[in-house]
Symmetry: C2
Subunit: 314 residues, 2 copies
């Protein structure tokens, strides 16, 4: 449904856009940028020869570069779409080839660590505008991307103190052209917000799926058959890319441990309420949580259809 | 899409089917039973005058009875669709009016406690075949039901030792006519299986939504805006009926606390892996969990579409 993106721009925002890492996010950006004509040339760089070959086959970019250094030569906009643990190495690789005036950005789910990794490698005159589109699916790789992924979603920019306003405005215009809403905050606040809205939810989803897989009294076949009682919801985000998520937890350790601590405190209280038959405490919590979902539906970040509008299994 | 249910039976399975409690499950049963002609007469009983009025208005049953006792007079099949904490009181109310040969069943998410509550009230000759359809949505009430809710889902029967095989076969035939797969197990094993596939998942979903709502450093508006990073998935089951779920936890305390203990142990190990930068442990778990989702999709209990096939927000 790329038609939902609107017509291509008459005047592209950038000349040479380089996307480093053609996974779900990078390949979605490539598809959208080309469809909307956001850059004269869209260039792909990826460490994996298999991914480079697949991207060429899919025809979703104008050029597949043999290396990051060659890709970024003459680029005015480079977006790192690699796992957050790899950002420093990629920045080091391309640093000598970047020209003054170029904008470097990323899509990482952690911002403090990315700023710390990337900034030391950037020479004077190169602008760094970190970005995080809060969008995705549980699928990975260049085939999983689609042009409307960012439509109606939020993209958070976390420019370090002292960043020129012009490149920030250009990156904002780019994401708005993709259909996203843009918000600006500090890397530190971003990392705290995402710890609770994304990182800890992923951690507990991975955890319960692991717990269920390891039981002896309940077979794996029973867990699978009777998963429609709630468990299957958790398996979606627990099917997300393992490398990406390993890096998220290692690179947002403090905020994740802080939010996990609160989650655990609250869970202990709930456990105690069950043990002591405190039905009122349970009922009060279970009533409060309904209003949060209503809020998410009201701002258009969730479907109002029951069961996510899932197609029934046949 | 009631057409997916197939044509009505020529010969109904029951004469007078009474559904006690017309919420999501009860009203779905009423719609499906009438559409499929599973009983000559479908009767509704509900403690709430507002629900009785709404059910009459919706026209989804043949008869709305003024009380449970009047409803079950002459019934050959009674299904309790009330919160599990209310089953004992309903059984007491109807006990004198049930005729020998009648089958009593239920749809409760807990089975051990329901057996303990209901059985003492049933007179000799009345058969009790507890049932649990593993199906639902986050919506509640008589308007939320739909006839295909049980299609392709599992229904677990937990007949107490010594139950006649005939009524068990009849209840099985009823659920199979609704499109469900039927499995038989003990109440104790059911309660353990569901603790991990349904009860603990609901508990941790309620818990994280509560934790997120109570933060001071992150505003509720931020939690809502940036929920597409994973959090919003949890809000679906945390929007489920508070009374139903309070009763589930109070009535399956032992199995829930046992499974919650394992969840907590595993979460502590994961927390430690993050603190000590053990990327390998994280990566290994995150890779294992992917295969469980694949299994759920393969047996038709989940959609293969990315993001549950959610319609994109506009």
């Amino acid at each position: 449904m790329p038609e939902r993106l609107g017509p291509p721009l008459e005047q592209p925002l950038f000349n040479r856009l380089v996307i480093v890492g053609l996974g779900l996010i990078g390949s979605s950006l490539a598809r959208a940028a080309r469809h909307l004509h956001l850059a004269r040339t869209v260039v792909a760089a990826d460490a994996s020869p298999a991914v480079r070959a697949r991207v060429a086959e899919l025809g979703i970019v104008d050029e597949v570069a043999p290396s990051v250094a060659e890709a970024v030569r003459g680029a005015d906009y480079v977006i790192l779409c690699v796992p957050v643990g790899a950002c420093g190495a990629v920045a080091a690789e391309m640093s000598g080839a970047l020209v003054p005036g170029a904008i470097v950005s990323d899509v990482g789910s952690v911002k403090g660590s990315v700023v710390a990794q990337v900034q030391p490698h950037l020479t004077s005159g190169v602008h760094f505008v970190p970005a995080h589109p809060v969008a995705g699916t549980e699928h990975s790789g260049p085939d999983a991307g689609f042009a409307t992924l960012f439509h109606g979603r939020w993209c958070i920019l976390t420019p370090p103190e002292g960043t020129d306003p012009d490149p920030v405005a250009q990156v904002r215009a780019f994401w708005e052209a993709l259909g996203s809403n843009v918000e600006i905050m500090t890397p530190q606040h971003h990392d705290l917000v995402l710890a609770i809205t994304s990182h800890v939810p992923h951690l507990i989803a991975y955890n319960i799926v692991g717990t269920a897989a390891d039981l002896e009294e309940v077979t794996q076949s029973e867990v699978i058959k009777f998963s429609a009682g709630g468990f299957r919801d958790f398996t979606r985000i627990a099917a997300s890319d393992p490398t990406m998520w390993r890096d998220v937890f290692l690179n947002n350790k403090d905020a994740v441990l802080e939010m996990l601590g609160r989650f655990n405190e609250d869970l202990s209280a709930l456990q105690r309420a069950i043990r002591w038959n405190d039905g009122e405490a349970l009922f009060n919590l279970f009533s409060r949580t309904r209003t949060i979902r209503r809020g998410i539906i009201d701002v258009g970040q969730e479907t109002p259809e029951p069961d996510f509008g899932r197609r029934k299994a046949d």
